[in-house]
């Protein structure tokens, strides 16, 4: 899981920590703002290098930029948010936020698409299958993710797969 997350957010000691284990922050927290990255600009920059091949990692990073925007504005306490599709059967949610004591908390959730359902694996060896409203909401998030990356990154029509002009 750590390896999968490093694929997108890069190596970090914070990732090694368990989801609920707080990390004491010694310095005063900076004012955190959600990353306002222009996806179209970023993809233009990446795709406009004819002899520089894009890696799967870079594509997932671009996708994660969109994924992090799907859930609305970040609360003020959130420092970082990632939501991406790692492979056809794995989705990853990662969030870093600080509490009133200025301690940073990381939360990483892995969603595994299994024959029995969508398994939600959280830190602390907590496992449960998605059901009810949570499953519906996850489906909507996945649909939004697919529609947006299809149009904004891959320039393909989400339903037909034909190139967008």
């Amino acid at each position: 899981m750590k390896k999968a997350l490093e694929l997108v957010v890069g190596p970090s000691d914070e990732i090694a920590q368990s989801a609920n284990e707080p990390k004491v922050q010694h310095s005063k927290p900076r004012a955190h703002k959600p990353r306002q990255i222009d996806i179209a600009k970023a993809s233009r920059q990446l795709f406009s290098r004819p002899l520089k091949q894009l890696s799967e990692r870079q594509l997932i990073q671009l996708e994660s930029e969109i994924g992090s925007q799907l859930f609305g504005e970040w609360p003020e306490t959130v420092i970082r948010r990632e939501f991406f599709n790692l492979d056809p059967s794995t989705w990853v949610w990662h969030e870093e936020s600080y509490d009133e004591q200025k301690q940073i908390h990381t939360s990483t959730i892995r969603y595994e698409v299994q024959p029995q359902g969508i398994l939600k694996a959280q830190g602390g060896a907590r496992y449960s299958y998605l059901e009810g409203q949570e499953l519906d909401n996850f489906l909507v998030a996945v649909q939004l993710y697919y529609e947006r990356i299809s149009r904004e990154i891959y320039k393909r029509h989400p339903e037909t797969g034909s190139p967008l002009l």
Binding site: Q53, L59, V113
Partner: protein
């Protein structure tokens, strides 16, 4: 509220409809499903796709988009490298003054 529910609510916004455009998308989705269901019922071949199945299919489509992009990039790179090599190999005719 059970501990499980509490943990889920505090850990993940998927547990509450905070998704941007959620309501609109949900309405569109419901209307699309209704139209689709009505058409299927008319044809007598009603099909029910579970959320799990839809998520699975979208995951496969995303992988396909990614693979397609990487494949096209690789092809473009091959063409580009070949073009550069051919340009390097090009020897201009001597200039006659």
């Amino acid at each position: 509220m059970s501990e499980k529910e509490l943990g889920a609510v505090s850990l993940h916004p998927c547990t509450s409809p905070h998704l941007m455009g959620y309501e609109q998308l949900r309405e569109e989705q419901v209307s699309r499903e209704l139209v689709s269901d009505a058409m299927n019922v008319e044809k007598g071949n009603e099909t029910i796709v579970s959320p799990e199945q839809q998520i699975r299919e979208l995951g496969v489509r995303i992988a396909s988009l990614r693979d397609g992009k990487l494949h096209r990039e690789a092809q473009a790179r091959e063409v580009g490298v070949a073009a550069v090599a051919s340009a390097d190999a090009y020897e201009p005719l001597p200039i006659r003054l």
